[in-house]
Amino acid sequence: MNEQDVKHNKELPKGRSLWGDGLRRLRKHKLAMVSLGIIAVYLLLTGFIYIAELFDCQFELIKWDAKVGSEYEPPGAENVFGTDFLGRSVLRKTLYGAKVSITVAFWASVISLVIGVPLGAIAGYFRGVIDEIIVWLYTTLSSIPYILLILAFALVLKGKTINLEWAGLGTIELAGITTVYLAIGLTSWVGICRLIRGEVVKHKERDYILAAKSYGCSNSRIIFKHLIPNVFHLVIISFSLRFVSFIQAEVILSFLGLGEKNRPSWGAMIDAARLDLPKGYWWEMTAATAAIFFISLALNIFGDALRDALDPKLRVQ
């Protein structure tokens, strides 16, 4: 667009898009806004840790492996959440654990969306043989129990390297959280794929798609300009609702010893605190559980509100 055009457009009244309407509805939902605040705190914390590590800043709070007191110190004025069996601060470990969990959940979501959305759209749009192959693939995958599948993927991927030298990216060693999010992402695209496929099947028979065909839109233009924008709110909703289950999956994998080994994560903390609990050292378990509890609750409330706001037809009065 050239300058004149932009100016011309600005003078005209703006329409209310469906996205704008959804955001307005969302803003009225107080609990959702509080949840969004909680989620933002977790995200900012993760971002802060990343930046601090990148620039090698010496903040006290991110030095989770520093010895700050004696072993198993109960919560007190000096160490708010007490200390663990090596005298490290539980508070710092919990904060650092957010980085691992959010990173895993984020990349797992991205991987599952990148696989699931295009596959679902292609299956739903072209139908026929392509559809049957994709449906067969995901029904087969979804018939395997979820945790078993993730475990199998994680075990297979562990310690392997991906050679990306042909793309000039060197090699990526699959260790720790990389394994975890690859395993979760590669196994969890089924739900979103099925959802998008169903929705695309519904939309592709609508007249506006026929109209687009009648004036000669290409298939890729129809899929990306017409169909995906009309089903994308579902992607956002399922992203926010799935984020929780990915955080939980990371906890389970870490608890089972397949996750991050060298840095604290909530699952690893629970795993470590498991044996301490009978001895009366409750604070490490409590801190990790509370961290999971608050982000799960906030994401669930926010995800539900998002669904109500973006997909008003689904709302049950």
Binding site: M1, N2, Q4, D5, H8, N9, L12, P13, K14, G15, R16, S17, L18, W19, R206, D207, Y208, L210, A211, A212, K213, S214, Y215, G216, C217, S218, R221, H226, P229, N230
Partner: protein, 326 residues
């Protein structure tokens, strides 16, 4: 009916839908949605295609621009056979033939602005963008009776009649020669219907458009069309100039339809001919005349042999497919 003035000539068009069943998706039969239809439209004329729901009107429209693959027949548009055109040809044809849809609530993409909806054909077909595109769209919006200020609005902010105007603008943006109107007013209130019909008439004069007008409302067709074709079960049963057809309906099915038009004037209200029976299944059509089961004049020959569409009884250019009309 072959004529040098013809913009569109459809001959013996057939569109069958295969019914597939079982694990191996074997074809077990066909629904003959359109079964051998021929007609032609002269430049600047309006041909009305009427018939009851499910008789194949919409399939005819979609087969003509290849949104639905036709099984057999020819569609000649300006000396080009549409059905055998290659990709490049088809792309060009899609500039010249456009569609107006029935339901203004599902025919506009809810996530696009009016400007993008109306402008997209120009973007796709001619690669226009920027202020040139905006100007064209704004000009066309005022032409169809919408304010150009609405260019950034979304379809859900408009009423049904306004949305149909947007649909009309989208159909005209490429300056087509033929516009196929697929029941453009049947989803609208009666008061809005006349507005849209008048708009279509004005645009026809301004741009020299040719219409293929599909409807099930005979009163609308009488007002709007030059030539009328009556369809029943995928075939044309009667074809004549509008005046001739309304004054002198020959086919028993047309007569039943005519008697069902509501009239305001008591003197014009004729005897209502009741229609008996049901439309036969399209899966298993009868071997004779498709209307035989419901026809008040039915005879042995009707049940055995399919009548063909031919000029009948001294009436000029009045074609009927019926054994009983002489």
């Amino acid at each position: 009916m072959v004529n040098a003035n013809n913009l569109l000539a459809v001959s013996n068009l057939k569109t069958y839908f295969a019914i597939k069943k079982g694990l191996l998706r074997r074809t077990v039969g066909y629904v003959k949605a359109v079964d051998g239809i021929s007609f032609s439209i002269e430049k600047g004329q309006t041909l009305g295609l009427v018939g009851e729901s499910g008789c194949g009107k919409t399939t005819v429209a979609r087969s003509i621009i290849r949104l639905v693959p036709a099984t057999a027949g020819q569609v000649i548009f300006e000396q080009t056979n549409v059905l055998s055109a290659d990709r490049k040809r088809l792309g060009k044809l899609r500039r010249d033939i456009s569609l107006i849809f029935q339901d203004p609530f599902s025919s506009l993409n809810p996530r696009m602005t009016v400007g993008n909806i109306v402008g997209e054909p120009l973007k796709v077909q001619k690669g226009l963008a920027g202020s040139e595109l905006t100007e064209k769209v704004a000009a066309l919006l005022s032409k169809v009776g919408l304010s150009p200020d609405h260019i950034n609005s979304y379809p859900h902010e408009f009423s049904g009649g306004q949305r149909q105007r947007i649909g009309v603008a989208r159909a005209l943006v490429l300056e087509p020669k033929l516009v196929i109107c697929d029941e453009p007013v049947s989803a609208l209130d009666v008061s809005i219907q006349s507005q849209i019909l008048n708009l279509l008439k004005d645009l026809q004069e301004d741009f020299g458009l040719t219409y293929l007008f599909i409807a099930h409302d005979l009163a609308v067709v009488e007002f709007f069309c030059d030539v009328v074709a009556v369809m029943y079960m995928g075939r044309i049963v009667e074809l004549a100039a509008a005046e001739e057809l309304y004054e002198n309906p020959l086919h028993p099915y047309t007569r039943i339809l005519m008697s069902a038009i509501p009239r305001v004037e008591p003197t014009l209200r004729g005897q209502r001919i009741p229609s008996a029976g049901e439309v036969p299944s399209a899966l298993n059509p009868p071997s004779g005349c498709a209307f035989a089961q419901r026809c008040p004049l039915v005879e042995q020959v009707c049940l055995k042999q399919m009548p063909i569409l031919e000029e009948k009884g001294g009436y000029k250019e009045h074609f009927v497919a019926c054994w009983k009309c002489q």
